[in-house]
Symmetry: C2
Subunit: 216 residues, 2 copies
């Protein structure tokens, strides 16, 4: 049994590594299933079936369903946080850094973990887990606000309410998870380009030659 796809058909080499791979495969399968059917409408049997395995096997790699969701959250949010980290290190204006974050953000949201990050309920996690996720989310939010403030300071971003601007940008990006599907016509980076154009220039036509925003 155990047909192609999923590391179960590849007879092993070293233990440790195989175990990691399998665990990752479980998380990924969970992420996809959640995206497809929603967290509560996905049974562990469903996930197991995709991997050509049975439910108890899952428990060998993961302690429970909640943890699967948690790991999905973490994986996705980690990617966004990474983008924020890179931006922090970069040597550029606030606006340029913000644009870079938007690119990374869009990439993360369109990944398999996008759904979990955006649509899964904190309520479905234990208070401890939920708190950790909230902290991660808040950190990202603060990073974005900081970039906006920086941009305002260095003159690359027009004055405005940093908190609301951050919410608007993050909201637009998060929402991608609701309409994006792999077979969609646009790639993540194409979407990011369109969004950046809109974020930077706004709806109102610019008077003179102005400041569109393809990346550096």
């Amino acid at each position: 049994m155990t047909r192609p796809s999923s590391p179960w058909n590849v007879p092993p080499a070293d233990r440790e590594r195989q175990r990691e791979l399998k665990r990752d495969a479980v998380i990924l399968a969970a992420a996809r299933a959640f995206r497809e059917r929603g967290y509560h409408n996905t049974s562990l049997d469903d996930i197991a079936a995709v991997l050509h395995v049975t439910k108890p096997t899952l428990y060998y790699y993961v302690s429970n369903k909640e943890q699967m969701l948690f790991e999905c959250f973490r994986e996705g949010l980690g990617r966004i946080a990474a983008a924020c980290g890179e931006a922090r290190d970069a040597n550029a204006s606030g606006r340029e850094r913000l644009i870079a974050v938007v690119r990374g953000y869009a990439e993360a949201i369109t990944s398999d973990f996008g759904w979990c990050m955006v649509r899964a309920e904190d309520q479905d996690l234990s208070p401890q887990m939920s708190a950790r996720i909230k902290a991660l989310k808040s950190e990202i939010d603060q990073d974005i606000r900081r970039l906006v403030r920086q941009g305002i300071s260095d003159g690359s971003i027009a004055a405005g309410d940093p908190k609301m601007v951050a919410f608007a940008i993050a909201g637009a990006l998060n929402w991608i998870a609701h309409w994006y599907r792999d077979d969609a016509s646009l790639s993540a980076s194409a979407i990011a380009d369109r969004f950046i154009e809109f974020f930077v220039n706004g709806l109102a036509p610019r008077v003179s030659g102005a400041t569109a925003g393809k990346s550096p």
Copy 2:
């Protein structure tokens, strides 16, 4: 029993009307409970308890849990659709109409039904119900895109990808449902003002005196 709040304590006048009121109260209670705990984490007993009533009573007004969710969807989406309708009738530029829609949209999203509209899963509805909701959502989406295209035609909106602009705007607005709470410091219209400022002018500083966007 049956303490203050909820029409159950107000002894009736005419039957028909009372029944409607009670039904509405059930839907509203459901919406609030869903927002608080999530759809799947809310039992019908929970909802009944809030109304100081028992589960079978709920079934007297509503055929099942799914229908509660459906009605919540409908109520919320109806408000947005109404805003779109008003905009269609208005005599104004595409941009001004779009701004008006943003105001109504923000109002709807911050209502008790905001959560259901935005965060509830289509998956939790039967295929028929789900299809009807999808149709409503799609209509709103098309309305917004149309306004953007109009704005581009009449010169009130800069050229761009109407579909992506619509997604970005709707996404930013929908996301309000994730962070907004009634006790929040900002009213819906204050949020709308900030968002409109950002949507219209974008991040990049305007060169000369330009075009902010308080409504007509």
